[in-house]
Symmetry: C2
């Protein structure tokens, strides 16, 4: 039961599209925000809570699951869905991003990447074939090709050579892929350079994948301008009928700008990470629940929000839990923050239907960034 | 709507009793195990999860809530029930135990106890009146008198003088009590000494309370023998028609021995604390989920258990979560451990009904301690 995707409507003013994912008899609409469950759990949440937030696809990390508990354990459990008790679609990344960011490899060769396990220092070797083999065993619904993730500071020449190698790796991964129920995505790189993004996109499409990811956009060192250009330069050369996924993007404005540029899928750890630090996403910007102004604020995080947290708990209670380092506080904020981003994509879909997307963006920015609640 | 209590049946072979608590139109049976929500949250759990485990009364800590967020905040929220979103009965302790264990006071006088706030070192003063005033404001359903909690090593003479002061404090607390919806319990002390327990029980009953607690039994330095004697010596002199509560008791065998000696209520942080350390309670003893034998064990913690965790997750998954320090792991184990102790009390109630309590105890011990799963 491989996932299917259909574009239902294209926006007239922008490159935005409305789509449908059909999975296991259920329909999930795009654009979509995908919560991240790094270790086969969306931090602090149960699968039921993830679904109650109206999640569709969730993401899990190949690198982490390879190291712990190991892909064999999950395979023997009957795959990731059974292991973690989630019956919605699951996307896995290739492990590439973590190898390059967490493990800091010394040795990148044509064959693959040698690096140290960040948990215990063991020497490990990840190749395009190995990444696909692990993902096949995890039995996720969407797998990613193994790509090099060069730093934002990489030179034009380095990027060009890196893209060429990533293309060779993409071919090897596609050949190694052996799970008929699993989609395989190619990844477009190229930094902020139009010609490199174009080259990467066209060549990746030539190999032929079930969908396409836009990599190298979540890097802190990049400007927003560059990020949005990278969206644009990539989607322009991608086939309309296939899913497009901007990796690691979760800032509300970046999701909006991505949607406008024709991106369908987004993921980020930000809603759960912000939650652990006591931050709540609201239409009026981020609020820091630890601020003393909320000590006796018995209203919900947001009056319009339909999440479990906002229906049952006050800012004062959540503030108390976060101050007392009670994990139920991070859980309540995670539920809310995930629901906030998913609700944002619901509104974006509505705006595409109503052909009011650019107005929606303007209104959102005015509320969210206009009078910043805090810096 | 003050809580009501009725004894429904007395065991013939033992001092055990079956009782009913009527609260807010609902009936809760005793003997009962009460989960602890120190900071106005049962660690890692939602109120719905606490109720799904068939909890009745839950406990919260006056000392912690007084220091953070402060009883005024909770009072302004409309009381503890509204603040934490729990509509079942709530019991608060007096703060005495924490003042004597966490804060380690230097100065115990007739007036009260001077000690340092364990969070910030501030000098604080807790008196019997203040403890009751805080509990009145928290608006719990059962409040405790403020008592001195002498160490297990205290001499007979110290204990005797301490009991006399605790009796004077109990009177002052009763006079200060000003919440018609709240029960107030007196506390029996006296260590392992029959005459002191008898004196403490009879004199506390003379003052007259809605129920009686047995204090000084959860101390690590005491032998099990002494604990069970203390249950016995105390309940012998307590009125049959009133609730009896053994403070801080949560080891399965201690609950069973307490029930046999006529105790109705038990509480302990153990199910959630054990969970955080990766331990699960089962009929065959405690299991340490981190053990490598569970790496590919795809069966539930217990096949007979009806909890959410056992219905949906494997030992292998929970082991992975605990190893990865994911809070969902502690949550799954907390759900199971709380349900285990509540289920134990359900079986004890059934055994009282069937008049098979001593057989039940024997059987339980054989399974739980007979072939220890681990040391």
């Amino acid at each position: 039961m491989k996932l299917e995707f259909k574009v239902k409507k294209e926006d007239k003013e922008t490159k935005a599209r409305l789509g449908e994912i059909i999975y296991n008899g259920k329909i999930y609409e795009t654009p979509m925000f995908m919560p991240v469950g790094t270790e086969a759990t969306v931090k602090t949440l149960s699968p039921e809570e993830v679904k109650e937030a109206k999640s569709g696809i969730i993401l899990s990390n190949t690198y982490h699951l390879w190291l712990r508990p190991g892909e064999e354990v999950i395979n023997h459990a009957g795959g990731l869905h059974k292991f973690m008790n989630y019956d919605g679609p699951i996307l896995t990344d290739s492990g590439g991003f973590q190898v390059f960011s967490l493990a800091k490899p010394k040795d990148i060769s044509e064959e693959g990447v040698k690096f140290k396990n960040h948990l215990n220092g063991d020497h490990l070797f990840l190749t395009p074939e190995k990444s696909i083999e692990i993902q096949n065993k995890l039995d996720s619904d969407i797998a990613m090709s193994f790509d090099e993730c060069p730093p934002a500071s990489a030179s034009y020449d380095y990027l060009k050579a890196s893209i060429e190698r990533t293309l060779r790796w993409a071919k090897r991964g596609k050949e190694a892929h052996n799970n008929p129920n699993q989609m395989l995505f190619g990844i477009v790189q190229g930094g902020p350079h139009e010609d490199l993004r174009k080259f990467s996109a066209l060549e990746t499409v030539k190999i032929g994948f079930d969908g396409y990811s836009i990599g190298g956009v979540a890097n802190d060192h990049e400007s927003k301008e560059d990020m949005y250009k990278a969206f644009d330069y990539s989607t322009t050369y991608l086939p309309k009928e296939k899913l497009r996924y901007a990796m690691g993007i979760g800032e509300p404005i970046d999701i909006i700008e991505g949607v406008i540029r024709g991106v369908d899928l987004f993921d980020c750890v930000s809603p759960t990470r912000l939650a652990r630090h006591g931050h709540a996403l609201t239409k009026l910007g981020k609020l820091n629940i630890k601020n003393s102004q909320y000590k006796e604020d018995f209203t919900p995080l947001s009056k319009e929000c339909d999440c479990y947290t906002c229906k049952n708990y006050s800012k004062a209670y959540i503030r108390h839990l976060i101050n007392a380092k009670e994990t139920f506080g991070a859980r309540l904020l995670s539920i809310h923050n995930i629901r906030f981003l998913i609700h944002l994509t619901e509104e974006l879909r509505e705006a595409i239907k109503e052909e009011t997307l650019l107005n929606y963006k303007e209104e959102f920015i005015k509320n969210y960034y206009g009078e910043p609640n805090e810096k």
